[in-house]
Amino acid sequence: MTTTLTEHIVTDLPQVTAVGVIIKAVIILAVISAIAGFGTYIERKVLAFMQRRLGPMHVGPYGLLQIAADGIKLFTKEDIVPQNANAFIFKIAPVITAATAFIALSAVPVFPDFTIPDFIPLLGGTFVPSIASDLNIGILFVLGMMAAGLYGPLLAGMSQANKWGIIGAARTAVQFLSYEVVTGLSILAPIMLVGSLSFVDFNNYQAGGIADWLIWKQPVAFVLFLIAGFAETNRTPFDLLEHEAEVVSGYATEYSGMRWGMFFIGEYANMITVSVIASIVFLGGYDAAGALGWLFIMAKIAFFFFLMLWVRAAWPHVRPDQLMWLCWKVLMPLAVVNIVITAIVMMV
């Protein structure tokens, strides 16, 4: 099992240079931010259709320019640091959420690799990899980074002199303690099967087509990971942190303008990250050769993104104690049993 971890064949790929990685980082930042903005539009539209409404319609054709209107509004709003808040932590908390979300994306393959054509001056011929940094502990790094992102809501809630914020921060801690165990344990079984923590190895393991997808071998792990992923991204069944019917806006109560916008971008970037992980680890990743495989993984990511919106329209959200009950008493034992069974099957 340990041999495959190091035998990571990259000989047929061009040399990855620092310039290429920087270009990739810029691409990730620009494109994922744009997709996160577009995601808000998609979310509003999908929720509207599911409630037989029209959603945003007036800014641009079918409301498409609503993103621009929202962006202008967020950027031009006055930057308010409320009274009695710890200004330094209050200011840095949204940065933590947004930054960790994008750092997590650095170890995830997003968009195909390509070489910049030669006719472009200065950068011509630079190879831009599909992963900004292909760590051999990719999954651990991404999950760790996404977990570190929970410091954003936690610090944001505690930095403001606001009871809703404090409750939101406390719920962040509750949620974090609940789902993190399940995330790790649920993804451990596929990791045992593949014998590597690198996303590329996961992709290669399932390269043989739909029959080779890990979802058929690890259906329980898939469901558990999906549930934990919903908790990780604060999506609806588990949006305890900022559920407006209970805690006004939770940790984000006193935030406005672009600082609030950074929480939002971070949340949507996290949704994309979880979708990417689920697609690569369980649904075969970019298995088909060439551009078609990248189209497939886009479709898979889009499906998971849509699933999150779909679930938000359909299901009520749970109470904090229900989340803890679910994670500790149901999901974690299931994950452990799943690991044990996987181990026994692998031994035999």
Partner: protein
């Protein structure tokens, strides 16, 4: 009837039907089986399907509930009581008001003011007629009491303006003489709204 019976507010409690809501699990094993049953029952997916069906209907069968209000308006009932209208006689084009003053008398918020005089044919002529829309409560008594159907309530409910007085002169409420052919007759009390047929729904019987 004794006082106890009189004070008993649980009317008809004997004929209530209790629904079968199952039993509350008590032992650990019962709780466990309930959780497992609920987990594998797939009720959550029923919920997912419900909203998905709604979305498909909204997208492909145009079953949208949104009314884009300033651009499209729902038809309102003919009984709706908005800004008043003064109607004209269809044949001569003369205003119907005979200056009887009943509307001024019946107005409970005292917002109608009118002055009349005899013209050269010894008919009553309305010289001044105003409704103070700052005071009007749109009760509809003036339209109800009018013997000539001269003052009625129109459908004009978008009456936001800097001065409500700009709606309230006799000439403002009077049907323009060149639009006499478009004058809507009041349908009368008890009239149904023009889209009443569309609003009729099947009564759900399966309560």
């Amino acid at each position: 009837m004794s006082l106890e019976q009189f004070k008993n507010r649980n009317v008809g409690v004997q004929s209530y039907k209790t629904l079968d809501v199952g039993t509350t699990p008590e032992t650990g094993m019962e709780k466990f089986t309930q959780v497992v049953k609920r987990s594998v029952k797939g009720e959550l997916f029923v919920g997912l399907w419900v909203v998905m069906k709604r979305m498909l209907q909204a997208l492909f069968q145009n079953d949208m509930h949104t009314v884009k209000y300033p651009f499209e308006k729902l038809p309102i009932s003919p009984r709706y009581r908005a800004i008043h209208e003064m109607l004209r006689l269809l044949e001569s084009g003369h205003y119907r008001c005979i200056g009887c003053g009943l509307c001024e008398k019946i107005c409970i918020s005292n917002c109608i003011a009118m002055e009349t005089r005899y013209d050269e044919n010894q008919r009553k002529e309305v010289t001044e007629y105003t409704i103070n829309f700052g005071r009007c409560i749109f009760c509809g008594y003036c339209a109800e009491v009018c013997p000539e159907l001269a003052i009625v309530h129109g459908p004009r409910y978008e009456n936001a303006s800097e001065q409500r007085a700009s709606f309230s002169l006799f000439e403002d409420m009077l049907t323009p003489i060149d639009k006499l052919n478009l004058q809507q007759e009041y349908d009368g009390f008890g009239a149904v709204s023009p889209n009443a047929d569309n609003n009729i729904k099947q009564t759900p019987l399966a309560y």
